[in-house]
């Protein structure tokens, strides 16, 4: 009977209907959710093999001996600044030994067909009035082009071009990094109170007549009322002020992770305030709050520094032992290319390396237990088209309030051309929300593909329009990217200064991983060594 047939069919019919809908839905879901293949890109980082060899101390005995007046061990910003200071003072009998094949340290850079790009540090804020040595350098480099009424005029081509910063906030890009819309009364009140407090700290002068907070930090006041801030963490200090606005807390967290790779609860309140209150850029034309930046980031500065003394630099030399011999210093370095250890006898030595390495190669320095370092992942993402988004257009620094990354900077923003198509986005992630040692393990153990997936997901969540435009993701792992200014850090730097002819030079000594700090310590060590060796010079400090 047809009727009976039809009834019997009903179940099958519904099932078929369900299959059709499911198939259509599945197809749609597939079309919407399909994941593209991962882009190409290399995995890089500080040379792990050389670093671990240094840790394990597996080097042959010295087979060659040489003599030089002064050895600089380490070719990061501090070592290069020391070399620059020596070269500028006409002191030429020195050698700089660098473990890696390239100098530059955390300011190293990469390059591909589209642009040069930073691998780590990527900008230098306009110098404070007190940063005399730094201004002297910037003048030599032509970055300070002249003066207007006694105020430095920076070369506009070196200053970060407009638009400098934008923040993705509540679905739109807005200029600046602090949200302006959708704020509660509490947010506005707390942000205003915070800004007032920081402005007061910025103007404050300590009992020793020095600025409360300065860059380089060595010029800061040692007024006990101020240094007491170093005894508590920044989050606790903010809480003690009664500021509860989540917008303020999110901004502070961004700032602490950006400069220190560290969460506010682990940052010394002194360092936290230093971030907000120490910058008083001294420049004409309203450039005081701007920064200098280049496609390759601070690689521009380290390359220019190295350019002052190219013949004094030996790359691929792992300094693995430093010891005193009467009033001289013996520096043993392993020459990677020749596979032998060279002993350099010097009248003085500047150890311009992170403190955890310095203590390893020079046992008399004690240990570096009090020094902890933030690990970072940096990804250079080559894209075929520029990121867009609702709201203000692409800036140099682009930050999302809804991502755990610090966002990205655009390499071609400072490039030679006005109009570009593809670019390289340098994406930063400090692994700050776990213990540094665990984060370092994660950094190494998580596969390159997983990291690339994380990077591309983060970018595509922010920029769906970049789907299909990501050409390459080059990863760079920094196990010890920057010193963490944890509470009590102010005293640690001074405690570790050895007696001459050994000198230490590194931003670790300031506890703040800033170009200005490294440069200051390099200059200070170089001038100390020149004084010891009776080389006439006028101090820049």
């Amino acid at each position: 009977m047809p009727g009976a047939n039809m009834k019997a069919d009903r179940r099958g019919l519904l099932a078929l209907g369900a299959v059709v809908v499911a198939a259509a839905g599945g197809g749609l879901a597939y079309a919407l959710g399909r994941r593209p293949a991962l882009p190409l890109g290399k995995l890089g980082g500080a040379d792990l093999a050389r670093g671990h060899r240094l840790r394990d101390g597996d080097f042959p005995a010295p087979s060659v001996e040489q003599e030089v007046d002064l050895v600089i061990a380490g070719g990061g910003v501090a070592g290069l600044s020391a070399g620059w200071r020596l070269a500028d003072a006409g002191f030429t009998r020195f050698q700089l030994l660098e473990l890696e094949d390239e100098v530059g340290g955390n300011a190293r850079s990469g390059r591909n067909a589209v642009s040069a790009y930073p691998l780590g540090a990527h900008y230098l804020p306009v110098a404070n009035r007190e940063a005399k040595a730094l201004q002297y350098l910037l003048r030599q480099l032509g970055m300070i082009a002249g003066d207007a009424d006694g105020v430095p005029v920076y070369d506009p081509a070196q200053l970060c071009a407009d638009l400098q910063e934008r923040l993705f906030w509540q679905g739109r890009w807005q200029e600046g990094l602090i949200p302006r819309t959708g704020l509660t009364a509490q947010d506005r009140e707390d942000l205003a109170a915070f800004n007032r407090a920081m402005a007061d700290f910025s103007k404050r002068v300590g009992s020793d007549d020095k600025p409360a907070f300065a860059v380089p930090s060595a010029y800061s006041s040692r007024d006990p009322a101020l240094t007491a801030l170093d005894q508590q963490d920044f989050a606790a200090w903010l809480d003690a002020q009664g500021w509860t606005s989540p917008v303020l807390h999110a901004h502070v967290r961004y700032a602490m992770r950006d400069d220190y790779g560290t969460e506010p609860y682990a940052v010394s309140a002194w360092a936290g305030i230093h971030y907000f209150a120490a910058r008083r850029g001294w420049a004409a034309n309203g450039a005081g709050e701007n920064e200098l930046t280049w496609p390759e980031g601070n690689g521009r500065l380290t390359a220019r520094l190295a350019g002052f003394f190219p013949d004094n630099i030996a790359r691929g030399h792992i300094v693995h032992h430093v010891a005193r011999d009467a009033d001289q210093v013996l520096v043993d370095s392993f020459d990677v290319a020749a596979s032998r250890t060279v002993r350099t006898r010097a009248r003085a030595a500047i150890l311009a390396m992170p403190h955890f390495i310095a203590t390893r190669v020079c046992p008399e320095l004690g240990d570096a237990k009090a020094f902890s370092y933030a690990p970072w992942l940096v990804a250079n993402v080559t894209v075929d088209r520029l990121p867009g988004g609702r709201g203000v257009p692409l800036a140099w620094d682009n930050v999302s309030s809804s991502s755990d990354s610090l966002g990205y900077v655009v390499a071609t923003h400072q490039g030679p051309a006005a109009i570009t198509q593809g670019t390289v986005l340098t994406w930063y992630l400090p692994l700050s929300d776990m213990e540094p040692a665990a984060a370092r393990r994660l950094l190494v153990e998580r596969s390159a593909d997983e990291w690339k997936r994380i990077v591309s997901d983060d970018l595509l969540a922010l920029h769906p329009e970049l789907d299909g435009a990501i050409r390459e993701i080059a990863l760079w792992r920094w196990g010890h990217a920057m010193i963490r200014p944890t509470p009590g850090f102010l005293e640690r730097g001074q405690a570790h200064q050895p007696r001459p002819p050994l000198f230490l030079a590194h931003s670790d000594l300031s506890g703040l991983s800033l170009f200005e700090e490294a440069h200051y310590h390099g200059v200070r060590a170089a001038e100390g060594a020149m004084a010891l060796l009776h080389h006439a010079h006028e101090s820049l400090l």
């Binding site: 047809p2 009727g3 047939n5 209907g17 059709v20 919407l32 638009l163 257009p393 030679p416 006005a418």
Partner: protein
């Protein structure tokens, strides 16, 4: 009719009947989607969404009625016709959105195409339901009608929910069309393989596979189609559209009015561009004693070059424009070379395709006159071409006594932006004089003359211009109070005040 009549198949197994009902569901879903697509697209292209939705839906339903009525003339072979109709719906409906978008700039009477498609789809869908009921007539009539219509209306609900919630936001119009065409064709093909009557339908099977493949290809290529489709935003018929590495070039023509748009911004209208280009070029060249070596930065359309080359003293002209495809288009297309009188292929001309910002800083030379004709400072990238840094580089390229002129947006709409260009040129160590001209398609437009030395009052203006004469030249330098000079900041790379002022002023002007 007798049971077992080959023309009137009976379905004793559940699968064919189920497949037919499923196809009713898919056909009605797809039908409604096509209808929604046509309405949305018509609203988008023609405006007035109430009218578009109302007329499209009305015509669609009417056409369905016509189809239903016509079904009476189908005497036999209902299954074959049903499958054919379904394939036709897949083909026409699936590609309708893409077709309409692509047709829009090409046809005179877009509505004819629009309603033609709507009527065709409606007719075919209307034909299907009666056919389906007849195919299923072997079953209980009461149930058949109930089932067919139920699936028809449920399909309509599914479509009307999917369309605004999922399809439009995620797939866009063109891809949605193709997706449902694919579903349509897939169901038709499935019927061909499930229905016992369809064993011999080779032609239909082949056609079905071809249509399915075509629609899939369309779906895959829909990104590209979607990009072509944005021509719909131009007010005049588009005669050329091309995306180069750097910009979107669109040429439109209505009667004798040829217009060039770059990234949607009008660059010239052939009706009045002579006013703009004569005013851009001659006041500067007429103030140089002997303009032998001339540089144009920007101006890839060759129109400023046309005016420069009218000066017999000019021995060498260099034009630096970013976009090679742009200069090539204007060098080799007859309509365009007619407009610029072949200036880009003139023997005195050297065309260089480079970024002006980079080129000016990396090259040297001694130019008697420099014409700076860049797009307006709409963003921070183009804004770099209006900075003190850039003007310092250009100043280095000026020969002694040389004169430079900069197109500087509208002094009426954006007076602050206009005078910022002057302040910026002055900060770069140049003396300036602003002037303005009325260009109907642009409005009141401004230029700034700049020179390392004094700028002469008098100019030798070439005879034979359509707009500029020595008397007119003198008048251009008068500014009424609403455009008069005012204190403005200097536009620097690190603080692009010009881009901000320009955006503010034009934002207010355009609402």
């Amino acid at each position: 009719m007798a049971e077992g009549d080959p023309a009137h198949p009976r379905f004793r197994t559940s699968a064919p009947a189920a497949a037919l009902l499923a196809s009713a569901f898919v056909v009605s879903t797809c039908g409604l989607i096509y209808e929604l697509l046509a309405s949305t697209l018509a609203s988008y292209l023609l405006g007035d969404s109430v009218t578009q939705f109302s007329t499209v839906i009305g015509s669609y339903l009417f056409a369905m009625g016509v189809g239903s009525w016509c079904s009476r003339y189908v005497k036999r072979d209902e299954v074959r016709l049903f499958v054919r109709v379904e394939l036709l719906i897949a083909l026409i409906g699936g590609s309708s959105a893409a077709a309409l978008f692509l047709l829009f700039p090409l046809v005179e009477h877009f509505r004819v195409a629009l309603y033609g498609l709507v009527l065709a789809i409606g007719f075919l869908v209307g034909l299907e339901i009666p056919l389906l009921i007849r195919i299923l007539r072997g079953f209980d009539f009461r149930e058949t009608v109930s089932n067919v219509l139920t699936f028809d209306y449920v399909g309509a609900l599914v479509a009307s929910l999917l369309f605004p919630l999922l399809l439009m936001p995620h797939l866009g119009m063109i891809r949605t069309g193709f997706l449902f065409g694919i579903a349509n064709a897939a169901v038709a093909l499935a019927l061909l393989f499930v229905l016992p009557r369809a064993v011999g339908y080779r032609v239909e099977k082949l056609a079905g596979v071809l249509i399915l493949l075509g629609l899939i290809a369309g779906f895959v290529a829909s990104d590209r189609l979607q990009r072509w489709a944005e021509v719909a935003s131009y007010g005049e018929p588009v005669i050329y559209a091309q995306t180069t590495r750097f910009q979107r070039i669109v040429l439109t023509r209505r009667d004798d009015d040829l217009r060039l748009y770059l990234n949607g911004n009008l660059q010239f209208s052939s009706r009045d561009e002579y006013r703009y280009h004569e005013a851009l070029v001659h006041p500067a060249l007429g103030r140089v004693a002997n303009p032998r070596n001339v540089l144009i930065l920007g101006g890839g359309d060759g129109l400023a070059a046309r005016e420069v080359l009218r000066h017999p003293e000019v021995a060498k002209l260099t034009l630096v424009d970013l976009d090679g495809e742009m200069t090539s288009l204007f060098a080799h297309t007859p309509t365009l070379t007619h407009l610029n009188r072949g200036s880009l292929t003139d023997k005195r001309m050297t065309v260089i395709n480079a970024d002006g910002f980079r080129w000016a800083r990396e090259n040297s030379g001694q130019y008697d006159a420099i014409v700076v004709d860049f797009p307006d400072p709409v963003d921070y990238s183009v804004g770099k071409l209006y900075t003190e840094t850039f003007y310092r580089a250009v100043r280095e390229l000026l020969a002694p006594g040389g004169m430079m002129v900069v197109q500087s947006t509208s002094p009426l709409v954006a007076p602050n932006a206009f005078w910022t260009v002057a302040s910026t040129l002055e900060a770069a160590g140049l003396q300036t004089r602003g002037y303005h001209v009325y260009v109907p398609s642009f409005g009141e437009w401004g230029f700034v003359l700049a020179s390392a030395g004094a700028i002469p009052d008098q100019a030798r203006i070439l005879p034979g211009g359509r707009f500029l004469t020595p008397t007119i030249d003198q008048r251009l330098f008068d500014f009424p109070p609403d455009m008069a000079r005012r204190p403005t900041p200097v536009n620097r790379l690190d603080n692009q005040v010009l881009v901000r002022e320009f955006a503010d002023a034009w934002g207010k002007y355009e609402g």
